[in-house]
Structures are given as C-alpha cells and as structure tokens.
C-alpha cells in the first residue's frame, strides 16, 4: 500500500513497507541524497531532517509514523538560492569532508527557529547530538552566531 508524504512542499506516493525508516525512503526511493546515513541508531545526527519544523533523526522515524510535512537540506535552499544558515556555513568555510554538514545545518536551522539568539551553552545543548569527525565545531559555532545576527537584521 502506498504511503503519502509531503516532502519539501511536494507530494509523494511511496510504495515501501511501513517500517522502512524515513532516511531510506528519502535516499533510495525519492532520490533526495542530501540527507546522510551515518549510524542508523540516532547517535550521530547525519540524517537530521525537519518534520513540521522539528529536527528529527530520520533513521528512527518509520515511514508509517511520519506525522507531518518533511523538509530536507534540499528544501531549505539551493546552491543558487541558499538559506541564511547555508550562506553562513559558506561564509565561515565550515565544511571539511562535508558528510555530516547537512545534518548539522538542519539541526542548527531548527535551533534558530526556536531560539533566534542562542548562547554558546544553547548551541552546545542543541548541537551535541551531531557528530563531526573532521572537528569543524568552532566554525559551526561561529556560523550559527553569524546566521542568528543576520536573521535578526533581516
């Protein structure tokens, strides 16, 4: 039986077993590969997407449990029209290998939506579920502060 999903504003009919995690629906069925597989156990944050604006680990949300509209990294901006948070990531040259950064950006976007002026402690609390083996943390922190101030001016 096909499941209806709204992803990045677009309707999709997905014909997969109910227990397939959203991560693998996005990557292997819908073709949205910006969301990454890191651990499969919600321990690294690479698969972070938004459901109704809330940051969730898509490796832990079964297809039949998706409760709202899904937004992925591709849905918040594109190379030609980046979201403020993505532009901050570019301005601060955050990425090294880049594999975790989709998840980092989605987590940071949810943080800023909830808290427009996060402190360092707020950032620590919100972002510590997102692992980066390259160690880009100082630039992530700087980019979040920068995006917060740019969004405030806008």
């Amino acid at each position: 039986m096909a499941t209806a999903l709204k992803i990045n504003g677009k309707q999709h009919q997905v014909d997969l077993p109910d227990d397939v995690p959203l991560l693998w629906v996005l990557r292997d069925e819908v073709g949205l590969t910006g969301t990454k597989f890191g651990c499969g156990v919600a321990a690294c944050g690479a698969c972070t997407v938004h459901i109704d604006g809330e940051a969730v680990r898509s490796c832990q949300v079964a297809l039949s449990d998706v409760w709202g509209d899904v937004t992925t990294i591709e849905g918040i901006g594109t190379p030609d029209s980046m979201a403020a948070i993505q532009q901050a990531w570019v301005d601060h040259q955050v990425a090294q290998c880049g594999y975790c950064q989709s998840g980092q950006i989605m987590q940071a976007a949810a943080l800023l939506a909830e808290n427009p002026a996060p402190s360092d402690t707020d950032i620590d609390d919100a972002m510590q579920g997102n692992l980066c083996r390259c160690g880009t943390y100082p630039r992530i922190r700087a980019a979040i502060h920068d995006a917060a101030s740019k969004l405030k001016e806008a």
Binding site: P17, V20, P21, L23, W24, R27, D28, E29, G31, L32, T33, G34, T35, K36, F37, G38, C39, G40, V41, A43, C44, A46, T72, I73, E74, G77, T78, P79, M82, Q86, W89, V90, Q93, V94, A95, Q96, C97, G98, Y99, C100, Q101, S102, I105, I123, D124, D125, M127, Q128, G129, N130, L131, C132, R133, C134, G135, T136, Y137, P138, I140, R141
Partner: protein, 746 residues
C-alpha cells in the same frame, strides 16, 4: 597528435593535445633512470590533463582525494595562480584513475614490473606506501618529494597553458607574445581587447607550448590567501556527491556481512529466511561473507542480518589481553630497526638519575562519517566503479583482478570522501562491491556497509606499547633509550596490495619516535614488530599517532624528574637541534601565557611532535568542574614553511587535534572471542561540540621546506592532554584512552 613541449622536470613533460573544440594541457609520464624499479617502462603514457579548455569553458583537474582537507581547492589554486583564472569561474574535477596523476601511487603503474632488485623494490614500495598513508596531508604542501613535485608541476601546467594560449593569440593578432597579458580567463591584447580562453582553445591545440618561467611568490594573487573552497557550496546544500549518493539508472541496493572474526573463513550459511524478506532480490555468497541485494539499502541491511552464518575462527588470539601479551613478546626479540643510536645508550652517565616507564595504547578504528560503500556496474566485459578512494589506480587494479578483466576495462569514478583518515586507502570496499555487482550483470549495485560492519571491519591503528628508559642530570636530559612494539602497518599493507611479503626496516613504526628534534647526547630508539594477523592500516598520522604519545609523555616524566618546567625543558633541547621546532614551543608559550603555574582546579600540559616535515606544539588546558574534567582550551603552533592557504591549514590543525583528542579521551577497539567489541558510535564515540576546546592556532613559516598539514596536528594532542591531566591531578597517564582513568566530560 600530441606535441610535447620542453622537459620541465626530469620526470615530467607538460604537453598539450588538441581535443574536439579545444585543448588539453597536462602531463606525460616518461621513464626515470632504471635505478628506481618502480617507474613505468620506457615511453610515455597517454596525456592526463590538468587543464582542459573547450567551448564550455575552463576545467581544472585536481586528482587528489578530497576528504575534507581542502586539497582540491589548493591544488586548483596552484594551476589557477599561473593560468590567470578565478576559481569561481571554472570547474574543478577529480578526473579518472591515471598514472600521471599519481606520483605516490606509482606502484599501481609499476606492478608487476621486471628487472628490479627485490630488496630495493620493497624498500621503495615501503616508502611509496608511506606516502599513500599520508594522503591525508594537504598533498600540495606535503614535505615528501611527490608533494613538492605537485607544488611545482601544477604551477608549470598552469603557466604552460597560459603561454600557449598567449602564443595562439599572438599568432592570430600578428603581435609578439610579450605584448599580451592575461587576466581572469582571457588574453588581453595591446589595445585592451579581451579574447576569452575558449576562443583560443582550438588554435592553442595546434601551438607548440613555449618555455615558461614560474612567477615569483611575491606576485601571487591566490596562493597564501584564504580561498573559498570549491566544494563548500555543494557541501552546505546537500548537493555534493559522495560515493553513497551516486544514482546510476536502475540502481539496486546491497549490504554486506563479512566474518567478524577478522580473516576467518565462512563455513556455511542459511539464507532461506532472508530470501523471503520484502524487497530482497538476491543473496550473494562472497566466500568469506554474504551480501543481500534489494530495492532499498535498509531492506538489504535487514536481510543480510537475517542470514544465519557459521563463521570460522580468527587467526589471532581471541581477546585483548592475549593480543597485548603477544605485542609485549616482541620486545624480547631483536629490533626490526634502530634508526637513532647516538652516543652510548647502554651506560648510565655518572651522577645521572635514571627513570623508566611503560606505556600502552589501544587499537583504533578510523570511523569515517560515511560508512564504507561503493557502487559497481559489471557488464561481463567491463566494470564501472564509483567510490570515494585515496588510491584510484590501486582500486582499479584490484577491481580488475576481482572481475577477471584487464585494467583498461575498469573505469573508476572518484567521488567526494565522507572522511578518509587513511581508511579509504584500502581496497576492500571496492572489491566487495565488484563481487556483489558481478552477481547481477548489467545492473548497477550500490553496496553500503552498516555502521556496525564498518566499525568491526577496519584496518585498525595497531595497538602499541613502549618501554622507555631515560636519565636526567643537572636539570637536563642526558639519555633517552626507547623501544616501541606494535604490528607493522607497512609490511601488512605491502602484502595486502601486492601479495609479496613485506620486509626490511619499517620506518613508519618508529616515525615520531626516532626523529624528534631534541638534542640529547645519548639517544637510542628501536622498533619491534609484533607478529599478529589483526588487520591494521594507516590511521591519521600513522606511527606518529602512538609514538607522539610515548615520546612526549616520557619527556614530561623526565622534566618532572629533573625538577624542570616541561615547556622550558623541551625548549632548551629543541633550540639546540631545530629552530622551527623551538619556534613552535616558544609560540605556544607566548600564546597561552605559560608560566608553569596554574590555579587550583586548572591543569596545563604541553607536547610537541615533528611529523610529515612539520613541527607542531600544543598546550592544552583542563578544568575540574565539580569532579568532572573538561578540556577547556588549546593553543596550537605549527611551522609549515609555506602556508598555501592559511584558512585550510588552521582547519587541519584544529581538526587533526580533535581527531587525536577523541582517541585519547575515549577511542578504544577491544577484542573478545576474536571479534571487535565495539559496534557503533555509542561505544566508539568522539569529541562533540560541547567538549571540544576553544582553540587558537598560529601558523609559522620559518621552516626551510614545506611540511604537511593534514596529519601533524594529531600526534601531540594526546600527550598534551595526558600531561595536562598530570598537572591537574598528579596522576600520570600511561595508557589510553584516558576515560578509563579520569572522569572526563563526554
């Protein structure tokens, strides 16, 4: 077709070749003198372009593994500097597997070659593999010969292209080439008219490349600046393509399980349950493991885990204690090498105080963020393979052998790497994907490992032990006598890549041990090889990753025994031996405001390691917060000789330190019943944003040669942290990870 220009280097010709509607500038490989057996046979291979100009614009090739270290950007900048193009106006591609791109992977082209002396061959191969293990370094700034080659060759490629385009314009305009200038992808005529390079490309393909001179560094526009990375927009928008993201038409998805008793056989399996699971199309017998091909990766993972397999035993002792007992036995045998033996290390100098210590560090996993994967399409007569890799020519040969094809029938597409750290220099992921795809000819199949499979099937950083003996007198070090014991990554890798047993002195085992820039009169450092069959490989900074901890923890113990400040103690010894190293120590002393004293509840430690041509000193500060110890601050000073992109150097220094601190705090691979006991990030974690220190990096450029930057930040981090914990608690850290001994914030 190709016309060859001046021989710019002994080994290398920058030539040009006409292509459809344009021109390619690049390199031909020619044979080197016969003394080095690793070189290709006499004659040229096909031209491999570094610059390609056609009607679509300018494309630069940066055929180095971009695994986060920024090499693609800096490599392209070397070309762009001379070519007068802007990085945001051009395309930068990785390019195919080709011999001429890979100085350090000459083994790929040279094997098996005839007429070489086997011992020289092994020695050279060992060196080549050492370079391979160092591909994490920002290669264009690496201290090895091949990196220096890249530094000059890529500028030569850019300059040759520029002058050939100018000559084509001069011929068209009927003026002398010297009257023309170049700027932002165009030749500028004397009257100011701009002729974009693509308009000249076809004529340039028919033009003999002139002799070129490289620009003086004082005129550089790009090199030495913080350049925007060419990959940063893609990596900030989810559009950068990693190996796991390739989606050829009709793609199927597979997952794999190999014997967790590493190297053991598979006695049999029952896949009847798996074959009935949703989406499953095929179960594949890989000989030493199984794979399931399905319509979705997750369904494939579920299926492969449902296969009941009878695994054979591992060819090494089954648990960690027994493994380290074997490692310790290596001390009893004669050393594999003694690469430093100054003065008389046997005698205790009169009036000196002797100290001894033994250190142990565990096996470590690379744990790249992107689990191992590769995608293959096998047609019966040809193979296409997509993957992130650190050695395309070796992957190509391994895949060809696996599929029983000629090398020429195998096409390698190298994607971005979701981390490498040495892991992507191995060939297993490509070989497994090839075998899986061969079970479904004509259909592309992506084989993705679960995180658990990745964690438990690594080529691990070997566990290692050191026995140190030293002596101090009148506040000075007068003797260091050290022995390190571990498996040999180099010998095992030679065997793995070539089938030929590795032999000879293993320099990688003792790097960071025998070659530290301290003036100690009696100084002997030996390496002992432990004979174990646990798969081991090149882990960021390789031998330096354990030896940095051994050497620099012991330096601290000696300073303490001598009643000296540990930074001043080192500084004095380094000043007498190597000024750039002393400069780094002096820099962190000033940056951190080092006084040798810290308030209650605060500890500071220092360490310095010279590796890959770059000395790096670090000071780390730890703070006791109600019984939990937090790594609060860090100061790093490095001397890279020439910083081609300071922003990238800074990122690599910090990232290298975090990689080392993660291992020091909590990294540990252990064994039970022949299997690795760690499965996933919850039991093999790393530092995260809340426990990474606030850090300041200083880049010095007094070194007379360019050093590497991707790895040298890692080794000193581990002893600097251990030494800081000693300063805080009075307890000496002689084993890693530190979480087993101290209550560190995780």
């Amino acid at each position: 077709m190709a016309s060859v220009g001046k021989i710019l280097r002994r080994t290398f010709l920058i030539g040009s070749a006409a292509i459809v509607g344009g021109v390619a500038f690049g390199a031909y490989y020619v044979s080197r003198p016969a003394a080095n057996p690793l070189k290709p046979a006499e004659g040229e291979t096909a031209l491999s372009p570094f610059v390609l100009i056609d009607q679509n614009g300018v494309t630069l090739f940066a055929p180095r593994a971009e695994m986060g270290q920024g090499v693609m950007t800096t490599w392209a900048a070397l070309i762009a500097e001379e070519l007068d193009v802007e990085l945001d106006q051009i395309r930068v591609l990785h390019g195919p597997a080709a011999a001429a791109y890979y100085n350090s992977a000459l083994i790929g082209e040279g094997l098996p070659n005839k007429g070489y002396d086997i011992s020289n061959f092994q020695q050279n191969l060992g060196e080549a593999l050492g370079v391979l293990g160092r591909t994490l370094s920002l290669q264009v700034t690496g201290g090895s010969t091949s990196m220096k080659d890249g530094f000059e060759r890529m500028r030569e490629a850019g300059a040759t292209a520029r002058e050939t385009l100018k000559q084509a314009a001069a011929d068209r305009l009927g003026v002398d080439r010297s009257q023309l200038k170049t700027e932002n992808g165009a030749v500028i005529a004397p009257d100011g008219m701009r002729i974009p390079y693509p308009e000249l490309a076809e004529a340039a393909g028919q033009t003999e490349p002139p002799e070129v001179e490289l620009r003086d560094p004082s005129n550089w526009r790009l090199l030495g600046q913080n350049l925007p990375r060419v990959d940063v927009v893609g990596k900030s928008t989810g559009t950068a393509e990693f190996g796991i993201d390739v989606r050829p038409e009709g793609l199927k998805f597979a997952s794999v399980r190999i014997n967790p008793k590493l190297g053991g056989e598979m006695k049999g399996f029952d896949a009847s349950a798996a074959e009935q699971m949703p989406g499953v199309e095929k179960v594949v017998d890989l000989g030493n493991g199984v794979a399931a091909i399905a319509s979705n990766t997750w369904l494939a993972i579920q299926a492969v885990e449902a296969i009941d397999v009878d695994w054979g035993d591992a060819p090494y002792p089954p648990d960690t204690d027994a493994i380290f007992t074997e490692i310790a036995k290596a001390f009893d045998a004669s050393p594999n090498s003694t690469m430093r033996d100054d003065g008389d290390a046997d005698a205790l100098p009169a009036g000196a105080t002797e100290i001894t210590a033994e250190y142990t560090v565990p096996y470590l996993a690379h744990s790249t963020m992107e689990p191992m994967n590769a995608t293959a399409l096998f047609t019966g007569s040809a193979l296409e393979l997509w993957c992130g890799n650190q050695a395309p020519t070796l992957v190509q040969i391994r895949a060809a052998n696996t599929a029983n094809l000629d090398k020429e029938a195998v096409q390698i597409h190298t994607t971005y790497l979701g981390g490498g750290f040495g892991r992507r220099g191995e060939l297993d992921f490509g070989e497994i994907a090839t075998k899986v795809a061969m079970a479904m000819p004509g259909v592309p199949v992506q084989t993705t490992w679960s995180r658990e499979e990745d964690m438990r099937h690594d080529y691990y950083r070997p566990g290692a032990m050191a026995r140190m003996r030293g002596a101090v007198k009148d506040g000075q070090a007068v003797l260091i006598d050290g022995k390190v014991a571990a498996q040999s990554c180099t010998q095992q890798a030679v065997q793995r890549y070539t089938g030929i047993p590795g032999g000879g002195p293993d320099k990688v085992l003792v790097e960071g041990f025998f070659n530290q820039p301290y003036a100690v009169p009696n100084y002997r450092m030996s390496g002992h090889i432990a004979n174990l069959d646990i798969p081991v490989g090149f882990w960021r900074s390789v031998g330096n990753s354990h030896n940095g901890f051994f050497h620099e923890t012991f330096m601290d113990e000696m300073a303490h025994a001598a009643g000296r400040d540990p930074l001043e103690f080192r500084l004095e010894l380094a000043e007498a031996e190597h000024a750039p190293s002393a400069g780094c120590l002096q820099a962190v002393k000033e940056m951190s405001g080092w006084t040798g004293n810290t308030p209650n509840g605060v500890g500071r430690g220092v360490a310095m390691t010279y590796s890959f041509g770059t000395p790096v000193a670090q000071v780390i500060e730890v703070v006791d917060e109600d019984g939990t110890i937090r790594i609060a601050r860090a100061w790093i000073a490095c001397d890279v000789g020439l910083a081609l992109d300071p922003g990238t150097v800074e990122a690599q220094m910090f990232g290298g330190m975090i990689y080392g601190l993660s291992a020091a705090v909590m990294g540990e691979i252990t064994f039970s019943d022949g299997e690795v006991e760690q499965y996933n990030f919850p039991d093999y974690d790393a530092l995260r944003i809340h426990n990474a220190p606030v850090t300041e990096v200083k880049i010095l450029e007094t070194n007379h040669h360019m050093g590497g930057v991707g790895e040298p930040g890692t080794p000193p981090s581990m002893p600097a942290l251990g030494n800081a914990l000693f300063d805080l608690t009075g307890e000496r850290a002689r084993a890693l990870p530190l979480i087993n001994q101290f209550n560190l914030l995780v």
